[in-house]
Symmetry: C2
Subunit: 258 residues, 2 copies
Amino acid sequence: MSLEPTFPERRVLLRCALSFVGKSSRLIRSKLAAGPRVRLKDDGSPVTDADLAAERLLRRLIVRRFPDHGIQGEEFPPVRPRAEFQWFVDPIDGTMSFTREIPLFGTIVALHHLGRPLLGVIDHPALQETTSAAAGLGAFRNGRRITVSSGNALKNELVAVCYRDQFLRCRRQAAFDRLMRSHPNVRTYGDCFGHILAARGAVGAMVDVDINPWDLAATQVIIEEAGGKYVVLARRGKRRDILFGKPKVVDRLLPILK
Amino acid sequence: MSLEPTFPERRVLLRCALSFVGKSSRLIRSKLAAGPRVRLKDDGSPVTDADLAAERLLRRLIVRRFPDHGIQGEEFPPVRPRAEFQWFVDPIDGTMSFTREIPLFGTIVALHHLGRPLLGVIDHPALQETTSAAAGLGAFRNGRRITVSSGNALKNELVAVCYRDQFLRCRRQAAFDRLMRSHPNVRTYGDCFGHILAARGAVGAMVDVDINPWDLAATQVIIEEAGGKYVVLARRGKRRDILFGKPKVVDRLLPILK
């Protein structure tokens, strides 16, 4: 088919995605309890046996249920890259946190149809917090509806930002320093932990730069279904700089980051 | 008595502190589940019904068990400030996080004897992680021994720092900016969350500035019992700037922060 999935079809797809992530979440918690085993990849970035095992599990679950869909992820080559349905998986976003038992790492699973985000799930195994959305069906945290204004009445809006080394990598450190100086409450809630905080209004907005397709694949649909604004600030190959959150906060931050 | 408590006496005192904190932890989790209720204090800082209820509970438990000890805390006046044993309590360190349901807030309980730290407990109710130490008896995370070198083999040492607005408050923002620029992996793991990460070696060191007596009362004994180095960078009235963690990392950061 090349028609967009109907709402009932999306509900089924989201239920499947949540079930896949529920299984990877249990696997990751058990790996965490056993103590993470780390090695460095050729590019110097760390990978753990939990990354590999969880991505293998997610790919197996997807292929078994949706044999004609494509899959893209960090640790293994793409599967059926021309299929109209493409899954994106990042088993452990925030490997540096995971290896240090800092419980802010998360799992990202998303499904795009003909290049458009259809659904997204961001799961935080150690926090037992699952954020999800499907286009047209709203955004949810552990099954309860969320919006970017859930924390609207709060004074002293927080802003989340990824780590300075990501800005350094793409030579945008001046923007990081400007942001830090221009807003009193900027916090480095990096990786997909910041993404879910923006979706439920715990922070007013987040800036995340130089990130891979699988690390942003779930975010746009979650933010937009939560009533937020999602802006691509820059593209470098497949990498993106993004800004998202409450529309007013996003608009206020745009000139600082451009 | 004015003799230092013996090791068996310290064990009893620590067991009491852990039991008090276990009770406040359950109370705080139930308040979190019910949704935090926030109001602003006269100085503009937020306070919640959970802050007040948990501090009242902790004070009641301490007074009942140790009627001749003193107590100091954020929300109520000091009790018996000249007693040789002084308890310090902060029921919710990280109220901004608590009100946003960001699970990184913690409870601090410490006991000092004649001005010297005897024991410290830092509990993270939402993470169900309790860090504790008593002088001469070691440091523990959920009952298991920790050291600042628990994560020693890790490449890419992380450094934790409190929020920039704390540096602004005491006009030390230049030190914050210098630290951010001088080290690629600085993260704002603020409040007592950063303290426990340093104690178990998840970060190499932490800098925390302009903090109250009750917010640092548990940290020195925990860090030192974990084999770490604890340095007071500056004193302003009862407020302190502190730096602590792995001795080598502390020494490397000292010139940046002085």
